[in-house]
Point group: C2
Chain length 366, copies 2
DNA sequence: CTGAAAGCGCTAACAA
DNA sequence: TTGTTAGCGCTTTCAG
């Protein structure tokens, strides 16, 4: 009784129940192969016929089954995106860009946040592998080895930030931390600051190290002494910023300015200073890093170093696509710039030019 | 002549190239059906054999191809999650919870933000349909009709916030705005405020309307007059909060307290007041809504009404799973509570005697 | 340029 | 309890 592919819709005259490629083929009076070619814009299809097929597709409101497509073609058209923690505003802004760009190129994205938990990381890699992602952007500012092995073993194209193994299929987004951080230090130096503290990110994160290194290098460039007691370890969270600032307040000699490894830390610092009754920037200047959206409205608005989420997202997608679509001309490295954004959390050192006012009132505004 | 499924790996003695179910079956000396049953924990499999199969699976580091599985079973195990804008901190916190819970039940999630753009919305529905999501949580605080039609037509289970059509396969998360907002108004009233302003969300969003209604109702309950001039339309963004506050500052008679439809608006308000040289809560009390993470460290820390992202996420996943797995006992409605969190942005009205310590769960630290 | 047919890797009857 | 087999909906040779 070999009825070929037995689509009931075809057997009797009733309205097709299953909206599949066969239904379209039948309605357009062509073979499923032709429908497939039409959908995939294969140029050898007779334009007349293609038009007819499209008409049917539109009329019946048909769209191909992605699962089936992926299964047979081996291409899922999904990119994975792993971030440290989605609740840090930096990441949603990055995700947004990544999504927009990926989607505009026909890819879907699978986001997952690891919360710095190796277990989660492993699990999330596994999920991505199961869903057969065609590439993964690891935007965690720090590489976990086991992760890498799992992914590399399956030969999934990867993009990292800052550092990554030099291997085919892997690209790295090189962030020029030094450029922006030097601007920040110079800005502080120009204001007259000589005693500058730095609150780092988690010590094991490579990007946090890079930022710290950029800071001390810049300090040297400005001929400013580097006081190790003023380097406090934070963890890129507000809470970490608060704790770090507490520790800083407890030191013998206070700095006149603080640079933070990211904006969330700076927000924590601002908060702690507020609690301590200290004014920013009158008593202490504060500089952040990232330039997340809310940095514009902190009190006072945060002077910070901008790292473009959009550039990061675009470079990541570009790299991944290159690996998938034209492996030969996939670049190994992409450069990302950073730049100082001066707002109002920086000023001359305490006791310098501006006379202290008795009351903490509004500081200079635009 | 029918070599069965011709897996080259099986033909010769070399290491298997394709890691599929057949490779496992062969290595474990069973049929692929048995492997499939083992993986799916079908109880009729002989424990001895199952053990052997699992051993092989572990050894070869095999995992099933999700695409194939989805294709044949008709179950993608993907839930869609649509949010308004991922860059509003409220949403990442919700996404995080949704992801955690969904993943713990074996579902993957596809997130997309509409940015209040109907075009994006349509496109994103389409993408979800193509990926064959088994359900969609529409966490946009406002329904767009066309969206609904598209999804409903395909009979995809849906979860909405606040309102949604009463139809099988659709659940609604009823947020009890009134409970928390009344607490807020009472808190203000107890402090002595009689002149209270409300900055709304986008007028077309149902949730924004509900919050406003809850506000005016609560006002009446406290016997406070409702002054329409003090109801300003915002848009749930910081910028909107700034603009709304500007308009409020321009009114003839200023209120002594402001309630905001969400925390981002409140943050904008705080910023504008800072700019205007006004102190919070001395000159004006401010209350937010949502209790996003940074509300704890705004300056001053924000008194706000908490709506649990985690409860929302859990209810959404629960509802979706119910529709998929036990349609008969899927609930139509789920209730979400809201509660006042008193911090430091509220105090007695300007000009009143001495501020007294606010009671309730104050989070005053050091 | 178009159609027939062979699977992609897996699940789910149906047999044994 | 286990194995055999027929597809899920689509892409892709390979003929015609």
């Amino acid at each position: 009784m070999a009825n070929k592919k037995t689509n009931p819709a075809i057997v009797d005259g009733k309205a097709p129940e299953r909206m599949d490629i066969r239904t379209i083929a039948r309605a357009a009076n062509v073979s499923i192969a032709t429908v497939s070619r039409t959908i995939n814009h294969v140029t050898t299809v007779n334009p007349e016929i293609a038009k007819r097929v499209w008409a049917v597709i539109d009329e019946l409101d048909y769209f191909p089954n992605t699962q089936a497509r992926a299964l047979v073609s081996g291409r899922s058209r999904i990119f994975g995106l792993i971030v440290s923690e989605i609740t840090n505003p930096f990441f949603p802004e990055l995700i947004q860009g990544f999504e927009d760009i990926a989607v505009s190129h026909g890819y879907e994205i699978l986001v997952s946040s690891t919360n710095y938990d190796p277990k989660r990381m492993t699990h999330c890699i596994r999920r991505m592998l199961e869903r057969k992602v065609e590439g993964v952007a690891v935007m965690t500012f720090g590489i976990e080895e086991p992760l890498l092995d799992q992914l590399a073993k399956r030969k999934v194209p990867l993009v990292f930030i800052d550092v990554g193994p030099k291997r085919p299929g892997i690209s790295v987004l090189k962030v020029d931390y030094h450029h922006g951080i030097r601007q920040g230090v110079q800005h502080l130096a120009a204001l007259g600051h000589r005693n500058i503290s730095f609150i780092t990110g988690p010590a094991r994160l490579h990007s946090a190290q890079s930022r710290l290194t950029a800071f001390s290098t810049s300090l040297k460039e400005c001929g400013i002494a580097h006081n190790p007691a003023w380097v406090i370890e934070g963890d890129h969270t507000m809470e970490g910023g608060i704790i770090a600032m507490e520790r800083l307040l407890a030191t013998k000699q206070m700095p006149t300015a603080v640079m933070c490894s990211n904006d969330m830390t700076a927000i924590g610092v601002l908060h702690k200073l507020y609690r301590a009754g200290l004014r920013v920037p009158d008593d202490l200047s504060v500089i952040g890093f990232d330039d997340i959206h809310i940095a514009e409205v902190t009190i006072p608005p945060l002077t910070t170093i901008q790292m473009s989420r959009f550039d990061l997202a675009r470079a990541a997608v570009t790299a991944l696509r290159a690996h998938v679509e034209q492996p030969e001309d996939a670049k190994r490295e992409y450069n990302i710039q950073t730049d100082l954004i001066v707002r109002e959390s920086t000023s001359v050192p305490c006791g310098t030019a501006k006379p202290k006012m008795a009351k903490a009132k509004s500081t200079g505004k635009s």
